[in-house]
């Protein structure tokens, strides 16, 4: 997965066991830099910075906020997720990935420094409310697992408390080093899922659906709780049946009781991502769906088409896993009502629903929900 052709590292980074381990796993010897400029310049000089940046690793420390709130938007309902910002960008190559357009330039960064993470997380662990934290917002959580001690460090760190859960979201099957850790159910291993045809055509370098589900089953066998994200769902001829088969496949591998939550969301994108997809994935037709401009200025499928798809999946979830929290990432009242018959419209209502699911499945302090 992480197989860089060039590695850069801040020259003032301490040679901790974390860094020594990382370097021992990487082939090119890191080139020491005083600041990120040489990395940016190298990537910007490439004809395809988005593709090239996947092969250049920059080891540094996070100089901004390590813990951030998921940005969300005002009109669509957000789950109030918290992001642990431990790295940026990704080595896999999904046609629809927003990270292609999000960073200028895109840089595969590893934010080192367990001391920094401890300092940021300890107050969260002593807080008075449940926190759901994930590392998969600006990177794939587990592309780092084969080369870094970070995922294991975080799993063990979260295992020591009962006020926060860590969600490691991935399209890989890189879980082996985590399986035997004492996780105390405070880490949710989660997989972003899609149909086999969409994985094959739109998700270069990711694990197959079957491999992801087998990994999920393996995680469950080691006592981990798991979650799944159908995001993005693509609308194409035959998609309803194809996504239903994926849902059925989930519960052929894991029991609903082991699933903390499942999110669903159809493909949406910032308008300028379209030209990037067209240039980098010329055979992809995903930007040519029946999109309209949403109220957050992102392109979204025409709402009745979204609702029809959600209703099919919603019915299947009710049938196969009635006790699992299924939620929308960034949808509005009409979509919630027409799909699930309720709308978590009050402030933090969706967050509360997911906190409750986390408390129930992962043994968090339920008095804080």
């Amino acid at each position: 997965m992480i197989n860089p052709i060039r590695v850069f590292m801040d020259k003032d980074l301490d040679q901790t066991p974390e860094i020594e381990y990382l370097i021992s796993k990487l082939k090119p010897t890191p080139e020491k830099v005083a600041d990120p400029r040489p990395v940016y310049d190298l990537i910007n000089q490439s004809d395809d910075p988005v593709g090239f940046a996947k092969k250049v690793l920059y080891i540094t420390r996070n100089k901004g906020a390590l813990i951030r709130q998921c940005p969300g938007t005002s009109y669509y309902t957000c789950c109030d997720y918290t992001i642990l910002h431990c790295g940026t960008y990704c080595t896999m190559d999904c046609s629809y990935c927003i990270l292609q357009a999000y960073f200028h330039p895109p840089v595969l960064q590893y934010f080192a420094g367990f001391d920094q993470y401890t300092a940021a997380l300890d107050p969260v662990f002593q807080g008075d409310h449940i926190v759901r934290i994930g590392t998969g917002e600006y990177t794939d959580s587990l592309i780092w697992e084969p080369v870094s001690l970070m995922p294991g460090f975080l799993v063990e760190k979260f295992a020591t408390q009962d006020r926060a859960i860590l969600e490691l979201k991935t399209k890989t099957v890189n879980i082996d080093s985590l399986l035997d850790l004492d996780h105390n159910r405070k880490t949710i291993l989660s997989w972003s899922l899609n149909t086999p045809e969409m994985i094959a055509s739109q998700e270069r370098g990711t694990a197959s659906l079957s491999a992801r589900l087998k990994a999920a089953a393996k995680a469950v066998s080691k006592g981990f709780r798991v979650a799944f994200h159908f995001d993005p769902i693509f609308l194409y001829p035959g998609c309803e049946g194809a996504y239903e088969k994926v849902v059925e496949a989930i519960f052929a591998h894991v029991s609903p009781e082991d699933v903390v939550w499942i999110s669903i969301g159809t493909f949406r994108f910032m308008p300028h991502l379209k030209s990037i997809i067209e240039a980098r994935f010329p055979d992809s037709t995903i930007p040519y769906g029946e999109f309209i401009t949403g109220l957050d200025n992102k392109m979204r499928y025409f709402k009745p088409l979204r609702i029809a798809m959600y209703q099919r999946l919603g019915a299947l979830f009710r049938q196969l896993a009635p006790g699992v929290a299924v939620y929308f990432c960034m949808e509005d009242e009409e979509v919630w009502m027409k799909t699930f018959g309720f709308f978590p419209g009050k402030p933090k209502a969706l967050a509360h629903m997911l906190d409750r699911a986390a408390a129930d499945r992962c043994g968090l302090d339920s008095r804080l929900v």
Partner: protein
Amino acid sequence: MPVMTFTDIPVSEVDLSDTGFRITGPHHDSEHLKSSISQYGIMVPPLVLRGQDKYIVVSGFRRIEGARHAGLSRITCRVMPAGETLDAAMAAVTENSFSRELTPAELIRATVLLLRFMDAQSIAENATSIFNMPLNSGYINTLARIHALPDPVLDLLDQGQISIKACKHLVSMNAETRAGFLHLFSQIKASSGIQMEIIAWAKEICALEKISVSKLIQESPLGITNGDGTGQGGSRLGHRDMGALGKQFKAFLAQRRFPALTAAKKQAREQIKALELDSGLQLAVPENFEGIIYAMQMEFKNMDEFKTRLNRLAELADLNDFKSLVDR
């Protein structure tokens, strides 16, 4: 600075067939100019380059054509010495650029003319002095690539049927797709913005349906031929008809590209029409049906009108058409 002399020369010694320096298109209407020359003669002497046995026109093709038309046997020209081709090219461009804004096709011809003598970077560095506007080297190269497109493109540019922006997109297409679009734009008239929309939607439909642009056009209202192979948009049509065809074609694409949205909009329009709201009441559905807020605007001139329209609004709540529109 090119050296030139004012010389009275026989019109017959000017070679109008050598169009190497010509920037204006062949479709330029010069009837008024011909009439003016017949009455008043040539006000600004054309610029010619001394050739081996004839004079080559650098600037003033239409003036010389007008002189011939008026039956003049000799005209005063500014004559450049033989061999000064770079100076002649520069003069041909600057003379036109500083007397009026070049049309897109003229800009392309002028650029390609200069590229015979200098590279894009040099042109870009001197663009404001030559073209009376800045041009960067990337744009200059794009103009050259547009010039290399098949023949109809400059004609279409001359006739305002395709924009440079649209041509830029054609440059990166394969020959078959490009030919399809050139054929399309020869049949319709649309603004630059709509041309771009047409190109994008048509390309997207073709990608989704795995068909060629020609096939898509065939399946459109433009594909209905008149028996002479010209289609509805045959050359006999005037601009107004071509404009209508452009609108018709765009509507065809919108329906095919966004079938559910188009159908929903049509249904909403019909439902609103069925409500028979009077002119002072305007109902707006959420844009693209994404939001959930409907808006009703009421205008009134006096209390009576206010009450009448308020009653009408109250009646709406009981109408099934209104319910089905709002409770979609």
